[in-house]
């Protein structure tokens, strides 16, 4: 029915335009990870193909998927093809406020003066 609330299903990487443009063939896997972060999908059957895939289905609208595929040959980047969602600040804010009206003075329950470190008790690796 028309007005049923559907949870946003978001998966995979959200990339930043300048970072993607700084990718150059010949980079090693280590360098790519430094620039782009870890790939969302690496198939167990193809180690040399990294997919920076991202899918988003907001509420009742259809799911869109974009995939930036990187191919390596003996640890050197060979080809980059496909498309990606680039980070759009306003959209991010809109998605987040769905869950949380910002109560200014309410401290997040498990947050105290601990180092941010993802809020986890095990510190930075």
């Amino acid at each position: 029915c028309g007005f049923l609330y559907k949870l946003d299903i978001q998966q995979g990487n959200l990339l930043n335009k300048t970072l993607v443009e700084s990718l150059k063939p010949g980079m090693t896997k280590r360098q790519v990870t430094l620039v782009m972060g870890s790939p969302a999908l690496v198939s167990p059957f193809e180690q040399n193909r990294w997919d920076y895939i991202s899918s988003i289905r907001r509420g009742r609208s259809k799911m869109e998927t974009k995939d930036l595929t990187l191919h390596f040959e003996n640890d050197a980047l060979v080809s980059i093809d496909g498309d990606y969602f680039s980070e759009d600040a306003d959209q991010l804010i809109k998605d987040a406020t769905k869950y949380k009206r910002q109560y200014p003075d309410e401290k997040r329950p498990d947050e105290d003066k601990k180092k941010r470190g993802g809020g986890g008790d095990t510190g930075q690796s």
Binding site: L4, L7, Q10, Y99
Partner: protein, 771 residues
């Protein structure tokens, strides 16, 4: 011991430990060449086992002879004289150091224990403590350990003095301090017990008190802690330098902003040429970090960097924003769910695996898990995934409460007097997340049989479905309502459809049959006439009403906690209307709005208003206004407190012909109800559970029930129309306790605005029964 080839190994002095064990730890075997270096290795290995006080290596021909002296085993540990530190904690402390009955005893450990105990007592302000351990040697190489403790009394803080504070006097500065001088509450609050942590915490508060009011140069030069020679009184002196008040010059943002600058600037809580306040800086930085964490930058850090201009007494601030990498959630693991299924928890999570990290979604998930009502504690930690710098796991640790309740036996409620009831209810049936309840209850005036079932997740998107079958035989008069018997049987089923994160719409379809029988001379004429009117003028003591009804209700719930929330609101609107084919056609509208907001971090304000309105509709063949058995009532434990249940509002005309009934009033209820309450909730004294199970509040209630529609000589008339002067009011204290046996509510109420003839009650309570 020059090197030689070991032909055989012999071990002397063994008692408890058998040779096999020693061989298994010994790094030397038969046939090895024993060098000096290997020998010392062997000795070290044997000492490491912790079994031996002494290990000697000797050579007889080519035989290696190891003489060992076993450490005595501890036969018994006795501790006397400990009051502050409980026995189990002491035993556990000893266990951690290795002093356990049956284990080998090491003298060195004993000194460490005594030292540790003295340090523990000093930390509690007991400086006159003396600890005397005694070791008794028993036979068979065993020892008995006696630890005698003389604790002495804790030193009390007698004098705290802050020197150099000209603008704010000692009193204001010290009221947030945890340490304080002895006063009448000290026996409980222990505020006069000195501890270094408490003091450093207090000095930090002093520091931020000044920094929050513009004193950028404020500094605590020195703090002296001293004690009287008899070690029973403590004196604390702190000397401070206030410095000047500074204003904020310009505010700039730098680093990788991610969001637009003016979005971030909206979060800054301090403006130029306002008085400098570190607290506002921190709050602004926290707000920005929170927004960045909400959109995936879990390790974002925002640091306000002040540059002080001493001449102009100004500080310009640059917020350096370091968002770090965008972070993704790798795995979501649940711990502690021995009864609840994984999916029941996972479906509440708003954060998905493989998605980017959203602190907002995580906080929302936590509230949803708490709202399920069958978890005592929900903790979420987000440790990094080793080997990556942009992935975290989400570990959700829950503590399950006994989600079911099996109450059998006696409940007592003001309304229903003694209730013998058997009720089995499970709000997490076998961990599947479904709610099921069976109630068979027999009370002074009511027989009730209900079965209800609710599945919150009929579909994965959270459409819920519920069923309710109940049979109720009710003698209304015992419930202080007019004198008649009602016998209802009803069945209803409803669907809950979430339309947003905090809004749900419920559609209910129900059928029920209500049989009313009245007693001439006891049931008020208004009711008897009404029934005769409905029965087309033929008076009858017995009347059955059939109806089909549907109800649409909308719930908007943004409360931040399940029990005792401090934020958010709960709005419930419902409209019930009977469908054609029912004996009477009427509709009932009910609206309830409750708003919570914190006054201080200890006090919460809760204001709520309820409005109910019902009336007949359609052709007058079925339209007899709102039937009396569907009337609203007011007054009672959970309504306008301080008045007997259901007694507010219009009542039947008294029977002057039957003397003993003369003063007796029979409330009829009404078709229009308005109730409003204002409550301030404060922490329950002497209870250390920070309001997770108890709730104490001061309340002010106002409300009443109006336009009761009655039949007089064949014609329908509504009496007691709404008027402000008829509103009743009361004030008092209310105590809620989620006891293991069930919710207990105790009200102490004093009616403020009442009219003669109102039946009031100062003490009202219910326990063990949902009233």
């Amino acid at each position: 011991l020059e090197t030689f080839v070991v032909s055989d190994i012999r071990i002397d002095g063994l008692q408890r430990i058998n040779a096999g064990t020693v061989f298994s730890y010994l790094p030397v075997e038969k046939g090895d060449k024993l060098t000096q270096e290997r020998a010392s290795q062997a000795i070290r290995a044997l000492y490491k086992t912790g079994f031996f006080n002494d290990v000697q290596l000797a050579r007889q021909g080519n035989i290696l002879v190891i003489t060992v002296q076993e450490r005595p085993a501890i036969a018994k540990i006795l501790i006397k004289g400990n009051k502050d530190v409980k026995e189990e904690d002491l035993m556990k402390g000893l266990k951690d150091i290795g002093l356990v009955e049956g284990e080998p005893f090491d003298r060195l450990q004993l000194d460490r224990v005594t030292q540790e105990l003295v340090r523990q007592y000093n930390n509690r302000g007991k400086y006159n403590v003396t600890i005397k351990p005694k070791i008794l040697n028993l036979d068979r190489n065993r020892v008995e350990l006696n630890i005698n403790i003389a604790e002495g009394k804790a030193a009390a803080i007698k004098h705290i003095n802050i020197v150099g504070n000209h603008t704010y006097d000692d009193g204001t500065l010290r009221d947030e301090f945890e340490s304080g001088t002895t006063n009448w509450t000290s026996w409980y609050s222990k505020n006069d017990q000195y501890s270094r942590e408490k003091l450093s915490g207090d000095l930090e508060k002093l520091n931020s008190y000044y920094l929050d009011r513009g004193y950028v140069d404020f500094s605590t030069d020195s703090t002296e802690v001293s004690m009287s020679p008899d070690k029973r009184n403590m004196y604390i002196v702190a000397s401070v330098r206030e410095g000047e008040i500074y204003k904020v010059a310009d505010i700039s943002l730098s680093g990788n902003l991610i969001l637009k600058e003016d979005d971030l600037r909206k979060l800054i809580k301090i403006q130029s040429n306002e008085i400098f306040s570190r607290n506002k800086l921190e709050k602004s930085a926290e707000a920005m970090t929170a927004v960045l964490a909400n959109i995936g930058y879990a390790f974002a850090e925002v640091t306000p960097v002040p540059t002080v201009n001493r001449e102009k007494r100004e500080v310009s601030i640059n917020f350096v924003i370091a968002p770090g990498k965008r972070v993704y959630v790798h795995r979501i693991n649940f711990k502690g769910n021995t009864n609840t299924a994984d999916e029941v928890i996972r479906r509440e999570m708003r954060q998905l695996e493989g998605a980017w990290y959203s602190q907002a979604a995580i906080d929302r998930s936590k509230i949803r898990l708490q709202r399920l009502g069958y978890f005592k504690k929900v903790d979420i930690t987000t440790p990094r995934v080793p080997g990556t710098d942009d992935q975290v796991d989400l570990n959700v640790t829950i503590e399950e409460t006994s989600s079911g309740s099996f109450t059998f036996g006696l409940g007592y409620s003001q309304v229903q007097k003694f209730i013998a009831s058997v009720s089995v209810s499970q709000n997490n049936l076998f961990g599947s997340g479904d709610r099921a309840a069976l109630t068979v209850s027999q009370s002074f005036y009511e027989k009730r049989y209900d079965i209800s079932y609710f599945n919150p997740y009929l579909t994965d998107d959270g459409i819920s479905i519920g069923y309710d079958i109940s049979l109720r035989k009710l003698d209304q008069s015992e419930a202080n309502i007019a004198e008649y018997l009602s016998d209802t049987a009803s069945f209803s089923t409803y669907l809950g459809i979430p339309i947003s994160e905090s809004d749900t719409v419920n559609v209910k379809l129900g059928v029920d049959k209500t049989r009313i029988n009245t007693f001439e001379g006891a049931t008020p004429d208004e009711i008897i006439n009404y029934i005769t009117l409905v029965n087309k003028g033929i008076p009858t003591p017995l009347k059955t009403f059939h109806q089909w009804n549907t109800e649409i209700s909308w719930a908007h719930d943004t409360r931040n906690k399940f029990f005792n929330p401090t934020h958010g609101a709960l709005l419930q609107l419902s409209a019930e209307v009977t469908l054609p084919g029912s004996t009477l056609s009427y509709y009932k509208l009910v609206g309830k709005y409750t708003q919570y907001f914190p006054i201080t971090d200890k006090l919460t304000f809760q204001g709520s208003a309820t409005i109910g309105y019902g009336d007949g509709y359609g052709s007058d063949k079925h339209n007899f206004g709102l039937p009396f058995y569907e009337n609203f009532y007011a007054g009672g434990v959970a309504d306008v407190r301080g008045f007997k249940d259901n007694t507010l509002g219009p009542s039947a005309s008294p029977f002057d012909l039957i003397p003993q009934y003369s003063g007796y009033q029979q409330p009829l209820g009404g078709a229009f109800k308005t109730v409003a309450t204002a409550e301030v909730i404060f922490p329950t004294p002497f209870v250390k559970d920070d309001n997770t199970t108890t709730r104490l509040s001061a309340f002010f209630d106002v409300g009443n029930v109006f336009n009761s529609n009655i039949a007089q000589n064949g014609v329908l008339r509504t009496t007691n129309n709404f008027s402000f002067s008829d509103l009743r009011a009361s004030a008092g204290l209310s105590f809620h306790w989620q006891a293991p046996v069930g919710p207990i509510v105790i009200n102490l109420a004093r009616p403020i605005r009442k009219k003669p003839g109102d039946q009031t009650e100062t003490l009202q309570f219910t326990f063990g029964a949902q009233n």
